[in-house]
């Protein structure tokens, strides 16, 4: 089955030129909260991807029957139900991950990317396109989180995924010359890093456009 151009565009667009975080500036708050370390950022990215894709498909399937006056509430109910189910399943089958995500998992409900995609895309497109759009946006969001978390964990604690990367002997405390950048652990640093990525992204894409 060859995917139509529109379907491909629905998936690839959000990864770069129409990235939800970089271009639409959505989902910034969670980018601050979960990017101190790489692991929660990864799990959050994957969870959001799954939930956006699933809720996009569900809403797209029932889009023709939804009364327009209560459509936002319907979308919210669908998202909330999916988030609750995912959180219950995680608690049953991946308890450690569920504990690590704790409150952030519930906060996916309020992630503006979800509502944005449901309202802007799934309400007017068929399930396959919506699935692709959901996956694209989720992954577009995920790679930003991972990029930010990579920088913050590496420079902030000298680790990646919890493993020490910078040798212990380098640290001042052990007679070396190196000190972790405590600033990286502060939420403000996530904003600054996202800002830098947006800057680079815009500069690059503007050049391409010309």
């Amino acid at each position: 089955m060859a995917l139509s151009k529109k379907t491909k565009e629905a998936f690839l667009g959000p990864l770069n030129v129409n990235n939800p975080v970089l271009v639409q500036i959505l989902g910034i708050c969670s980018a601050l909260a979960v990017t101190v370390q790489l692991r929660p950022a990864l799990v959050m990215g994957i969870s959001v991807t799954i939930i956006v894709a699933m809720s996009n498909v569900v809403v797209s399937l029932i889009r023709k029957s939804i009364p327009s006056r209560i459509r936002i509430i319907i979308q919210l109910v669908v998202v909330a139900a999916l988030v609750t189910i995912v959180s219950e399943v995680l608690k049953a089958f991946a308890y450690d991950v569920a504990m690590q995500l704790s409150v952030y998992l519930g906060l996916i409900i309020t992630n503006c990317i979800l509502m944005g995609r449901l309202e802007a895309f799934a309400m007017t497109n068929d399930p396959l396109d919506s699935l692709m759009d959901g996956l694209g946006n989720g992954l577009g969001y995920a790679w930003i989180l991972v990029a930010v978390a990579f920088v913050r964990e590496f420079f902030g604690s000298g680790k990646l995924l919890g493993y020490q990367i910078i040798p212990d002997s380098w640290y001042v405390a052990n007679g070396g010359f190196y000190e972790n950048c405590g600033m990286m652990l502060m939420p403000a640093m996530a904003l600054i890093l996202v800002g830098c990525i947006i800057w680079a992204h815009r500069a690059y894409n503007d050049k391409e456009a010309k």
Partner: protein, 290 residues
């Protein structure tokens, strides 16, 4: 048949049906997964206790190891076990449950004591959402291992807890201390307060047979509260627990709370019938008023 999806009736019926479907779905998922979730939560607690007991469970089934070591529950609060007795390599260890408040949410943990109820054998912390890299680091070996071998009582045997202090600061005399985590002041203070308040809560257990009665703060306090019948009973319990106090006639607290009764009397004399002295004192006072 083409439905008018904009009519009010359709909207209301649609909303109702959707809500029922979602509710049923969630209920089914919740019920279906409940036993697994509870088992997970239990296993998680057991793992934490094993960590507090310095047991490595990476090569074995933690649940089996737990069952092998656990002896019995000494103190529980509802479903939660607060003090559990273990036997590790033929030595008795007590594991105390800790719970307190960090910066962003609750913090907790388990403290394992040797059978002298004084020396810390091991400890484990957990937290709901402390900042990763800062407060979240209380779970690390580096922080935890500072507690190993510390004492929660001073040389006289008074319960003192362990202070978590910034480098350079000194704890009160007789109290042992560990270093706070740099950059996580509030979480570290939370750990310190959690230890102090929880150990105080368990003081009856911790002081059992080891502390001189009249020196123990809880006993002193109980003496003062002794006039109220319920507290009086507890006072007696506490007194009994401390070996040096003799409180035989618990029900009317004759010897044990004479001082307390007098005090109570001076404070307005309402229910001062718990001991003869108090009763007399009250009668006198009432007579004076009349």
């Amino acid at each position: 048949m083409k439905m008018n999806t904009e009519s009010s009736v359709y909207t209301i019926v649609y909303a109702m049906i959707l809500v029922v479907i979602v509710a049923v779905l969630l209920a089914v998922v919740n019920q279906g997964l409940k036993s697994r979730q509870e088992a997970n939560a239990r296993l998680d607690q057991q793992k934490q206790m094993l960590v507090a007991l310095n047991q490595d469970y990476s090569n074995s089934d933690p649940a089996v190891l737990y069952q092998k070591l656990v002896v019995d529950t000494l103190l529980s609060e509802g479903e939660r076990a607060n003090i559990i007795r273990f036997e590790v390599e033929n030595q008795t260890k007590y594991v105390l449950r800790l719970h307190g408040q960090g910066l962003w949410g609750g913090i907790g943990g388990y403290m394992a004591l040797n059978d002298d109820k004084n020396t810390v054998f091991g400890i484990n912390f957990n937290h709901e959402g402390e900042t990763p890299g800062l407060g979240g680091e209380i779970v690390t070996e580096k922080f935890r291992s500072q507690f190993f071998g510390k004492h929660i009582k001073d040389v006289q045997g008074n319960l003192r807890s362990i202070a978590v202090l910034k480098e350079g600061k000194m704890a009160d005399e007789g109290q042992e201390q560990v270093d706070a985590w740099a950059g996580a002041t509030i979480t570290s203070t939370g750990v310190s307060e959690m230890l102090a308040s929880n150990l105080q809560e368990y003081s009856e257990f911790l002081n059992d047979g080891h502390t001189e009665c009249h020196k123990s703060p809880i006993c002193e306090k109980m003496k003062q509260d002794c006039c109220q019948t319920k507290a009086g009973t507890e006072c007696c319990k506490a007194e009994k627990a401390c070996q040096q106090c003799k409180c035989e006639n618990c029900d009317d607290c004759k010897d044990c709370c004479a001082g307390g009764c007098e005090q109570c009397c001076n404070n307005g004399c309402k229910d001062c019938k718990c001991c003869d002295k108090g009763k007399k004192c009250c009668d006198n006072k009432n007579n004076d008023k009349e």
